[in-house]
Structures are given as C-alpha cells and as structure tokens.
Amino acid sequence: MINPEAKLAGNIFDKPAMASTREGFGKGVVEAGQTDERVVVLTADLAESTQAHHFQKAFPERFIQCGVAEQNMATVAAGMALYGKIPFFTSYAAFSPGRNWEQIRTTIGINNVPAVVCGMHAGVSVGPDGATHQALEDIALMRSIPHFTVISACDSEEGRKATIAAAKLGSPVYLRWGRDKSPVMTTSDTPFEIGKANVVWQARQGEALPCVAIFATGHLLYQALVAARQLEGEGVAVTVTNVHTIKPLDKETILREARAAGAVVTVEEHQIAGGFGGAIAELLAQECPLPIEFIGVHDKFGQSGEPKELIEHYGMGASHIVAAVEKVAARKK
C-alpha cells in the first residue's frame, strides 16, 4: 500500500496528472530566481526544450545564451560561480555533461563551486530522436566526480523542489531530467530533502514482512509502484523507495529497507554499468550483501521509437520489475 507519510496524489493509479520532469525544472528555477538574485540560467541554444525559457521570460537580464557550445557554457558557468553567482546551465545530458565532462570535472568539481549542471532528455524515453540524444551514461559520469550531488527527480513536482533545493546547497549539483510526460505522483506536501530517500510503498499492516525492497530513481518510480500494486494483489509484499538523491545515498533508509526485505531490485533508466543500481550494489556489498536484480539498460544504446515502446523494449516496464522481484525473491537463501 502507498505509504501515507509520502503524501502522494490520490489518483495516481487511475488518472494521474501528466507532466515531464523537466517542466518541474522550468517552474523551480523561476522560484529559485525569485528568492535569490544570484541565480542565473545559461543555455546552449535549447532554451525551450530545456524549459529554461521560463526563466528567460521572468529574468531576461539573468539569462545567458551561449550558443551551441557546451564546453564554453560549462566553463562560463564555472567563472560565474567563482564570482559568486549560482548558475544553472542547461542542455541535453548527452552533451552536458556528455561532451563537457572534463570542463565540469576541473572547473566545477575540483573548484568546488555551486554550479548546477542540468542534463535534460536523459534516458531512452526521449523517444524518436534516437540513440545519440538518449543519455544513458550521465549518472555514471557525474556520480564519479567528487564534491558533486546527483539528483534524479521522480516527477515534475519533485523536480521543482529539487531545483529550489539545489540553488541553496552551495556546492556542485547534477540534476537529471526526462523529456516525456510521466505521472505526477508527489504533491506539494510530499517530503523532499536532498540526500533523504522516501519510502513510498510499504507492506500492509499485519501482513508478512516484505520479501523484496525496490529502489527506484527518476520517473520509473511509477513503474515500480504499478509493479508493487500488482504484486500486492498476488500476495507478494514489497517496499518501494524513491531514491531521488543518487549521491550522497541515504544509507540509513536504504540499508534499513534492504535488511528488512533480504533482497533488492533497483530501477533506473540508465546503463546498468556505473549507474544508480551500481551505487546501491556498492553500498550493500560493503554493509549487507544481498541478492540484487538490476532494471535498466544492459550495455546497449537506445534507438528511435515511442517512449513507451522503448521502455518495454529495453526491459524497464512494470512487468519487467515484477519478473525481477520474483527472480530475486527466488534467489534468497
């Protein structure tokens, strides 16, 4: 059942409101700009599709068009952060942090300045644009850079909160965003704190302990919830935890849920190698080794198609999560 403390929207399994996570960025960055004059937004010829145009309209004097030059955008942002601004710089994740990773590492990471890398169009759910534009490696790129916080919001509302929180953090942040509309599960009352994972689905009171803990990041959290509901109908109790902050991981919550269940499924729209599941596996291997199944892209590039069919093709839908839960439960000793 849905954890009441998560304060999710009431209709998420019937007719959920739909919005892309990037829309949350568009709203959140305007709010951040209203409360802090140091906030500036940069883009590399992608103002509308990154949703930076909302900020451009609200604060034209604090919006910087960099042209198609992601390496320059990252380093201009670094210079602005060195000065004392809080720059959010926006492009597609395949290009930023894809193309400009070294610039980000040196001038933002080592310098340890509060610039926010906003990587849009992450995952295969970009859809028709195809493999070149479907970033599946960005979590790995960014969580390996010291000083960086890495956040992948589950929906537009959480994305809005994450953006506002990132502006206040005072250190480098990577925010990962999706293009396609996805269910809005959280509400303004849903707790959000950087580094604090939220249990959104729990076993019914009085039932047996959960047999699998599902950890999900990004919009696929919804697929995990759909899977959990189906499993509950089949008498299989699981927990689902929304891990929006991939770095630093909320070790306490993750270890508590993992230990209680004894087996784990991770869910992300990213390469398995180096991604969110890898981060969970690194933690569990050290603290409490358990069977894990990984939902994500297994060493393949994306391709053109509709988001839904791509999610299914690459094995990241609710049915795949159900199968992974059954598989990992069977591996428990």
Binding site: R62, G67, Q71, N72, V76, T106, N111
Partner: protein, 287 residues
C-alpha cells in the same frame, strides 16, 4: 597613462630576474615540471604582480581585486614565484612545488592557495571561465578587471574559440586576455604541430581589440594593459611575443625544454644540481 621612471623599470626587471631564479630553483628541487613557459612569462608576471594588478598579498580575497585567471596551468611556477616575491607566502615555500602535502600543486588548485582564483591545467578553459567571471562582474556593476593568461598552444582547443566568440558577442570590455605567443608546444613548434597564424586576424575577426607587444619589454606590456582599459567596446587580446626559456640562452626557443626540468634536458645528461647552477649563472649574466 602613467609613464614609468627608469628606476621603476629597473625594479621591475629585478623582480623578473628574481622570479626566474626562483623558477629554476623550484623546478630543480621538484625534479619535474615545465621550464620554458614559466621563464618566458617572467617579465609579464613581474609587471602584473608589481605594477598592473590591483591586489593585496596580505588580503588575497580583497573584493575589488583584479582577477588573474591562469588558463595554461602548467606554467604556474611563474605565478607561484611572482606571488611569493610579492608577499603572498614565503619564497622558501616555492621549494615544495609538486611535493606531497604542498599547497603548490603541479597544476594550480584554487582551494589550495589563497589568491589562485581557479584550478587549471587541462587546456582551453581559462578564457571561458574569465568570460563568465567578466560577465557576472559586469552584471553587478563591478569595476575590477579580469585578466586571463593563456598559451598559444591552447588556441588549438575548440573551447578557446567558443570563448573568443562569447566574449566578442557580449563585448566583455572588462576582460584582458594575454597570449604567451612563444611558438612552441610539447611536441614541437606550433606552426608545425597545428598552424595558428594569422592569429591576430582571427581575434580581430571575432570582434576583439588586439595589441601586439614584445613580451619582454615591460613598459610596452604595461602600456598595452592601460590601452586595454581604455577600450570600451570590445575585449582586448595582448598578443605577447615571448622567447620560451628566456633568460637562459642555451635553452631559449628550444621546444624540447617545454616540459622538462633542469637535469632532464633533451640532449646533455647533466645532474640537476649542476644544471641548476649553470642556469642560475646564465640568468645572472643575462641581466
């Protein structure tokens, strides 16, 4: 423009000689690092730290200080030496260059040393950081200037030209870039590795004001910095023609000394201590 007195020019030359001496001593002690570039930029760094920059060695975070961004981080020994002689830290600390626990990293790190402004080493990103700094400072009506010291070799980086375009578009007149045009890079002469000329025309085509100077003529360089201040409609590039290895005639203009310290020269295998002394004697004699 204030004219320099002969005495002031003499003093600046003395500072440049002291900086060169320290560069040789620190590289010999470190047994690694780049020799040619730092020596070639010693006159310019003497002029910057002892005349041009508004700064305070005892208060490196002075809010209204001019910002000096070093893009080609591998020539940082010249900056460390200049900072030490200017009073940022004891000159003896220069001998910790590249050693474990030192604030003087092989390539400069902002967090390690007050006054360092940014981290650099990977080439081609200093000019764009300077652009961001200059843009942000202008937004807030700040009057300090942003200087970016960069190499000629890093003009081969795409990132450099993205920044050149950006500065031209936004008419960043509070930005002065200084290019060390010494014609060498690690693998050879720039015009053999990847021709850069006509470099002046290229910058002018991108809407920059360009001033060419002899990078060892201190009054000429200072005059160029003054001129840059007076240019209101565009950023300025001071194209400084320098001699790599300047001050040590036996290694001047030899690209093979780009990345080697004393004792690890390209031909003769002379122990570091002995070669250091030879170099120091040459610097003394060349003044």
């Amino acid at each position: 423009m204030e004219l320099l007195t002969d005495e002031e020019i003499r003093e600046l030359r003395c500072h440049a000689r002291d900086i060169r001496t320290t560069i040789v001593e620190m590289l010999a002690e470190a047994k690694s690092g780049h020799t040619s570039g730092p020596l070639g930029m010693a006159d310019i760094f003497a002029a910057l730290y002892f005349r041009v920059l508004h700064h305070d060695p005892k208060n490196p975070d002075l809010p209204e200080r001019d910002r000096l961004i070093l893009s080609n981080g591998h020539i940082v020994p010249v900056r460390y030496a200049a900072m030490a002689h200017a009073g940022y830290f004891p000159v003896e600390e220069c001998l910790t260059l590249r050693k474990f626990g030192s604030r003087l990293q092989g390539h400069p790190e902002r967090d390690m040393l007050p006054g360092m402004e940014t981290t650099s080493g990977p080439l081609g990103s200093g000019l764009s950081q300077s652009c961001g700094y200059a843009y942000a400072a202008r937004m807030d009506g700040k009057t300090f200037r942003i200087f970016c010291a960069m190499s000629d070799g890093e003009q081969e980086e795409g990132n450099t030209w993205e920044a050149v375009m950006f500065a031209g578009k936004y008419r960043l007149n509070n930005l002065t870039a200084i290019m060390d045009r010494n014609n060498i890079q690690i693998d050879g002469n720039t015009e053999d590795i990847m021709p850069l000329e006509p470099i002046r025309d290229k910058y002018e085509a991108f809407n920059w004001h360009v001033i060419e100077v002899d990078g060892h003529n201190i009054p000429q360089f200072i005059a160029a910095c003054d001129e840059a201040k007076a240019v209101r409609e565009k950023p300025t590039l001071i194209l400084a023609h320098t001699i790599p290895g300047k001050g040590i005639p036996t290694i001047e203009n030899d690209y093979r000394w780009h990345g080697n310290p004393p004792g690890k020269g390209p031909v003769d295998k002379i122990p570091a201590d002995k070669q250091k002394q030879v170099f120091l004697d040459e610097i003394k004699a060349s003044q």
